[in-house]
Symmetry: C2
Subunit: 396 residues, 2 copies
């Protein structure tokens, strides 16, 4: 496989963007990444778009064919990649393999989702299309319900407490407040939301034991990266990022079919494969973006990846080990919890954040000092399709 | 790039399959291809699914994650590729690049669509999501309308006649009647449909000058191929097929923006790139599957690819040059016109047909004698995203 570099990254602020068009959002993020890459005369040869809901939510299909024209990239190749909430990482994977194969030298990957859409009365209807059509959705099983069931089992088995979950939420909201691209850019008062007399109202149960502040929001947004072969990356004469490791694994579509539902086998395997390819271990990762659609997932993933032993992920977050300045800063971006979770955008946004971290270009309030290696973990379904990337800083 | 082989091919009969579930159809086609490949202990490492409408038509998303579990291929990677009517070829491309990169050694590609679905009152509503949401669909421009406008211009410019279009329809229906996988498996009487007193009723105008028998049907179906590196293909000890050439190009999303709407630039460029990579020219192709969503397209494509000069494609089909036994048999499968056009399945089904032809395994009634090289052309939108493959027979 040829080595693959990430030479451009960009995104637009996530949030409620009712007035914006999906295609505009994708184009804005793409232009940021293209400007950042500064390819000049070197044309983009292929476009991969990550999106889940354009057909259902915007009544528009084949959006890659539309975007490649909109961006004046004709006659570049174009495709849309859909893999549920892991669509973003899957599109980056597609670009990665396309360059690794030698077929293309430059690829643009854009992920985006406009979930606040008039076409669907409630986003829960759209999201229910991600659950199993026979074994889950007819019984009213939603993603949040699966999150609640998983949380209860995981908490009982590994001693995770409500305080541990709150620590994830608090950390990620604090970081989101420092990230101009985050959906939630103001911090809540943990004393009021978690402990005060209004806590039951401010932070009600959504899917026991998960409460409102344990769940990521429904967001609109877009993010993009430009990939190239390493020769092109070196020509720019500045530090760049290489894809050092990649791993992917699938698990049973339904959570109910797993022998041990607390065992996120696809997370362990995807991370293991990525570490193997990169020749690195968990201790050598300086910063990580995990898929905290629910707070419990950040803890469970940090253990399955190997940052902490089983049962130690909860105490680790509570004691600040995953904060900026801790031994492994997790979700410095704010994560899905605070940066938001526009499905197709998320996996790309995770890569964008790590690229920024590894290029040491962020404000000191949220820059991981001297970061050399970063990891992203993007989950499809309830961890039934998991992709892990390991990125490394490189110099020309 | 590593060489890539196609070692398994399978499909299910196309047609109106109201009673069948999309996931069942995808699984049936996949199992045919897997059986054909006879991988044995060699596990499939990745799955690519081509599908356009599962969200809108079946209210189901992330179907690749579901199918990989259904087929007991866990923990293989899985993604869905959407590229409008070119989704099938785009998924084969994804598998091709994944193996060419060295990331995987075995990949399963499955394309399928269930267009007769209760969720959408009329397939035209679904298909309208493929046209431009600002520049086309608000004005009532459908794919068929674009076909009619294109046909009129092309006929006037290059002297294509109604008889030429009828010859395409007649040829493809005759071949479809010999293909057990075709949507239309009985031949109509050309004397009645084209010339008799009932012709206006039997073959009414849909989008002038295109009539009913100029348009492909709305079909349900699925098709699959198994790709591998060449070493695995050789081990099977029988002739196999290699992907010798691949080309892709995009064009303006809307037909109206093209300086010369009769110039299918993306077709010419995609074919040119595929020929260049394969080191072959049009004269060296023994059999071709073209994208005849409308009869005029088969003629126009046969000219843009270089099988015939501009203006000679119509007379060529009328004089039998593109029939079985002619100088370049086109759509021996029946094409989209008679085999049918389940969007996500089509590009994969084209590859399946060429694999069967190059392995010399078809009944003599529809086998191209001693075929050594074949070509497929799959169109997204109104030829705004075009993929061309050139396949060659190889021996172990």
């Amino acid at each position: 496989m040829r080595d693959v570099a990430i030479i451009g990254a960009g995104m637009i602020p996530f949030g409620r963007r009712e007035q914006d068009d999906l295609m505009d959002m994708l184009a804005w993020a793409a232009l940021q990444a293209l400007d950042d890459a500064g390819l000049g005369e070197q044309a983009v040869e292929a476009l991969y778009v990550a999106n889940v809901g354009s057909g259902m939510l915007q009544h528009q299909l084949a959006i890659a064919s539309s975007l490649v024209d909109r961006l004046s990239l004709l006659p570049a190749a174009a495709e849309t990649i859909e893999n549920g909430p892991a669509s973003g990482a899957s599109a980056v994977k597609a670009g990665f393999l396309a360059i690794a194969s030698g077929c293309y030298n430059t690829v643009l990957v854009v992920g985006g989702e406009k979930m606040h859409a008039p076409a669907v009365p409630h986003s829960a209807d759209f999201l229910s299309a991600l659950t199993h059509p026979q074994a889950e959705s007819p019984y009213g099983v939603t993603m949040a319900a699966l999150g609640g069931l998983f949380a209860r089992l995981y908490m009982e088995k590994y001693g995770v407490t409500a305080e541990h979950l709150q620590a994830v939420s608090q950390k990620n909201h604090e970081m989101g407040a420092l990230n101009p691209y985050a959906h939630f850019r103001t911090m809540f008062d943990p004393e009021v939301v978690f402990h005060g007399p209004l806590a039951e109202t401010k932070n009600p149960i959504v899917a026991d034991p998960l409460r409102l502040y344990d769940l990521c929001p429904v967001s609109d947004g877009a993010a993009a990266v430009v990939l190239s072969n390493v020769e092109i990356a070196k020509k720019a004469g500045r530090p760049y990022v290489v894809i050092a490791g990649f791993g992917q694994a699938t698990d049973t579509h339904t959570l109910a079919e797993r022998a041990d539902p607390t065992d996120l086998k696809a997370v362990s395997l995807a991370a293991q494969r990525a570490f193997e390819m990169a020749g690195l271990g968990p201790a050598e990762i300086d910063v990580a973006e995990l898929h905290d659609a629910f707070t419990i997932l950040e803890i469970a993933e940090s253990e399955h990846i190997g940052f902490f032993k089983k049962g130690e992920g909860g105490p680790a977050v509570a004691s600040g080990k995953t904060r900026l300045g801790g031994i492994i800063p997790i979700n410095v971006s704010g994560g899905l919890k605070a940066r938001g979770h526009p499905l197709g955008a998320t996996g790309v946004a995770q890569i964008v954040e790590i690229v920024w971290q590894l290029r040491h270009q962020l404000p000191s309030t949220r820059q991981v000092q001297n970061a050399q290696a970063g990891l992203t973990l993007n989950l499809g379904g309830f961890a039934n399709n998991v992709l892990c990337f390991i990125l490394k800083r490189a110099s020309p």
